[in-house]
């Protein structure tokens, strides 16, 4: 079988072997959970708890600030001890609710529904919304919004994104191997909500065990298919995934729904299943803690609000040659951290501790030698060389002529550039200076 793929893209070293065979284990419940009120794209939540208030696990502590928003829940039971701004992984300071864990692990009452598949699409959507589910692949877009396409955009296909194309990360991989039927159940819920007949699960070919498990799980169902994808970054980008599996081109500046597709990540599908079946809100997620700078690489099911310093301790701490760089997310699109005191949030797929051996120092960059490598690899068909040149000279308006806003900052161009030009950084600079 030939593997499905898209044009462009790169082959960074995968390093999946570090964590891919570590089963998911529960991380310790944190003594204090620092829970940001804005963990998603869209309006931040408003805190509805007061200092000193006792909360239970799963209780809503922040109400959504609009339709494009998602509630946040207490991830531990205990007392609210602070309400203030704390740093989050993307480097910003965000209002957070801090809960001191009383160790009782008391759940609030959850609405269990054994016959959840008999519920109406609206009821299912309501459950997903109440559970605060957002895209767990990293984008953190509220899931119920994705599940409410406008009428004029008919949806005919749902794709579950199991590409996990970011090097190092293995959280989705483990979910597919360990709980394949829950992931598929999540997919069925999504298909039911959207009234869609066709579902795909796209998995990069470097996860043969996941492909096999998922295939077994869906065997006998002819409306769900597992597709093996060529290993190539950024295979997991929505547009590239849709191109690979369905050969449809999402229009520039458009969304998957413009071509009748809705894409959800494996972790999101899993959370959707749990929300609909058990009424469980998203208070924990699988986080891959990996890299050569950490003693043991693990896939931890960590509570939202757990500081990453705790996860690092749980993995035996840093190795002797020490961490050179700590990244939350994957190495291609994740954020390098100043401090280990940032919490795990809904979109946190991994913590990567790079040792000196893995770290390529970002030397001084040179002039663009016009080698065209960045153009060849850009999955969006852009000319990153021109974007970087114009942005470097401050000609931000010209960047728009080179489709500045179609760049989704995947970093492929910067990875290949022999001159080590900080193209993504220059693109971000230009984006901040001009309007779309």
């Amino acid at each position: 079988m030939s593997l499905l793929t898209f044009e462009g893209g790169i082959h960074p070293p995968g390093h999946k072997e570090l964590a891919e065979h570590s089963p998911i284990v529960d991380a310790k419940s944190p003594a204090r959970a620092v829970i940001p009120l804005s963990q998603h794209i869209g309006a931040p939540c408003e805190s509805i708890v007061e200092m000193g208030q006792e909360v239970k696990k799963g209780e809503v502590i922040g109400n959504p600030g609009g339709f494009v928003s998602a509630p946040v829940h207490a991830s531990v039971s205990g007392k609210v001890v602070a309400n203030g701004s704390f740093p989050v992984p993307n480097g910003r300071m965000v209002p957070c609710v801090v809960i001191e864990n009383d160790g009782k692990e008391e759940w609030t009452t959850l609405r269990d529904s054994p016959d959840y598949m008999d519920l109406s699409p609206e009821e299912l959507k309501e459950k997903i919304k109440d559970a605060g589910i957002v895209g767990l692949g990293g984008a953190a877009f509220p899931s119920h919004v994705k599940l409410s396409p406008p009428k004029e955009k008919p949806i005919d296909t749902v794709i579950i994104n199991g590409a996990e194309c970011e090097p190092y990360l293995t959280a989705d991989h483990r979910l597919m191997v360990e709980t394949p039927s829950d992931v598929v159940a999540g997919l069925r819920v999504i298909m039911k909500i959207l009234g869609v007949e066709k579902g795909f699960i796209g998995i990069e070919n470097n996860k043969p065990d996941a492909i096999e498990k998922m295939q077994q799980t869906v065997s006998g169902e002819n409306n769900i298919e597992v597709k093996a994808l060529q290993v190539k970054y950024p295979q997991g980008a929505e547009k590239m995934l849709i191109k690979s599996i369905l050969d449809r081109d999402v229009p520039a500046g458009g969304l998957p729904m413009d071509v009748g597709v809705v894409v959800h990540n494996v972790g999101t599908a899993f959370a959707i299943f749990e929300a609909c079946r058990y009424g469980k809100p998203i208070i924990e997620r699988v986080v891959t803690v990996t890299g050569l700078g950490i003693m043991e690489q693990k896939n931890l099911r960590a509570r939202i609000g757990t500081l990453i310093s705790r996860l690092i301790d749980e993995c035996g701490g840093f190795t002797n040659d020490g961490p050179v760089k700590v990244i939350v997310g994957g190495p291609m699109m994740g954020f390098a951290q100043y401090s280990m005191d940032v919490p795990v949030i809904k979109g946190t797929s991994g913590v990567l501790v790079m040792s000196a051996a893995e770290y390529t120092p970002s030397e001084k960059f040179g002039p663009c030698i016009r080698c065209g490598r960045c153009i060849d690899v850009c999955p969006m068909g852009l000319m990153p060389s021109m974007l970087s040149l114009y942005s470097e000279k401050g000609h931000y308006e010209e960047c728009k002529e080179y489709n500045l806003f179609d760049c989704f900052e995947c970093g492929s161009c910067t990875f290949v550039c022999p001159s080590k030009r900080p193209i993504v950084q220059l693109v971000r600079l230009a984006k901040s200076q001009v309007k779309p």
Binding site: I10, P12, P13, P167, K239, K243, V250, P251, A252, G254, F318, P323, V324, K325, V326, I327, G329, P331, M332, G334, F335, A336, Q337, Y338, S339, M340, L352, Y359, T360, P361, S362, G366, P367, C368, I369, R370, C371, G372, I375, D376, P379, M380, G381, L382, M383, S385, Y402, N403, D406, G411, S412, T414, F415, V416, C417, P418, S419, K420, P422, V424
Partner: protein, 336 residues
């Protein structure tokens, strides 16, 4: 305390956090390395003069780049290998027997005027080595067209001069060329091996192809420019190159002689001065081929590769602006 100290030493930078190992200097040095077989063949056929002439170019290139950067207070970029490569390429494009001031002046023109005054690596419009060569060819046409008879006898400094195959073809015709080389098969073989008069590094087709194959294998160059360039030359040579009318030309002679192999694989593919989008590269290659054959068949010079590439260099910005990469999801009708 230890933990806090460590945290302060963490590197914080914008994504992506992985970078390929490719660097500009590695590319330049690898391309230089790929020219080694052709250089060795030049040294073999043209003796010590070939080595000395090339060495003068390389040393002048390094010194003039350093001097310019010192005077203008710019960063020293000698180690990136691009000046070395320019010197090497210029040397390989000269006849072995030129007087020593020619390589020196040609190289200074290449490095200082063509490259540095335009802003340094990446900003030059023209291929520096070719401008250097064009300058000395126009200034000292005689010395630059006095070719040495290839002779594998080492340490011979008294060169016998000879005409290049393209020169003979142009001035005296195919019959004379065949008479000189015996028969066609022998002519092809000698061209392939490089046993003919010409510039130091241009004669051996085999050696050049060896280096080019290495670059293609390493993905340092793609075949878009070389194939469209050589293909165009072949078609035009076949169409119009013969004396007995259309379709009687001999494309192989045109492909294997002159500076086409060196030019198409190593000079037209210069990143800085060729288009960076593949479809633009094909247009560029075809343009190079057309101009080369126009000069070879109708022009005053027997060889046109150099001027063809330089002329097409002028069009590179235009080609790049108009033949852009296809943006994902951009419908044809929306495209401006």
């Amino acid at each position: 305390m230890e933990a806090i100290k460590k945290q302060h030493e963490l590197v914080v930078s914008v994504s992506p956090h992985l970078k390929s190992e490719e660097t500009t200097s590695r590319i330049m040095w690898t391309v230089s390395l790929s020219l080694l077989p052709a250089f060795i063949s030049g040294a073999y056929f043209f003796g010590p003069r070939a080595v000395i002439t090339t060495a003068i170019c390389i040393i002048t290139a390094l010194l003039s780049e350093r001097a310019f950067q010192k005077i203008t207070n710019r960063e020293d970029t000698i180690s990136d290998g691009s000046a070395f490569l320019t010197g090497l390429l210029l040397g390989m494009n000269l006849p072995a027997t030129v007087p020593f001031y020619i390589p020196i002046i040609g190289t200074v023109v290449a490095i200082v005027i063509t490259k540095q005054l335009f802003g340094g690596l990446g900003y030059n419009i023209f291929n520096p080595a070719l401008i250097g060569r064009a300058f000395v060819l126009i200034t000292w046409p005689r010395a630059m067209t006095t070719w040495m008879k290839p002779d594998a006898a080492f340490m011979r400094f008294d060169a016998i001069s000879a005409a290049t195959p393209l020169g003979i073809l142009k001035e005296e015709g195919l019959a004379k060329l065949l008479a000189l080389f015996g028969d066609k098969l022998n002519l092809y073989t000698e061209l392939l091996v490089g046993h003919r008069a010409g510039s130091i590094g241009e004669t051996s087709v085999i050696a050049l192809l060896l280096g080019a194959a290495f670059l293609v294998y390493k993905r340092y160059i793609s075949l878009h420019i070389p194939l469209s360039f050589i293909g165009t030359v072949a078609v035009i040579a076949w169409l119009f190159g013969g004396k007995e009318g259309l379709f009687t030309g001999d494309p192989l002679i045109h492909i294997m002689s002159g500076g086409l192999m060196l030019g198409a694989f190593f000079m037209a593919t210069d990143y800085v001065t060729c288009p960076s989008v593949k479809k633009g590269q094909i247009v560029f290659g075809i343009g190079c081929g057309l101009i080369t054959m126009l000069i070879r068949l109708k022009g005053g010079y027997p060889e046109g590769v150099m001027f063809a590439i330089l002329l097409m260099n002028c069009f590179t910005p235009l080609i790049d602006r108009n033949l852009r990469s296809k943006v994902f999801g951009f419908m044809k009708k929306e495209a401006k």
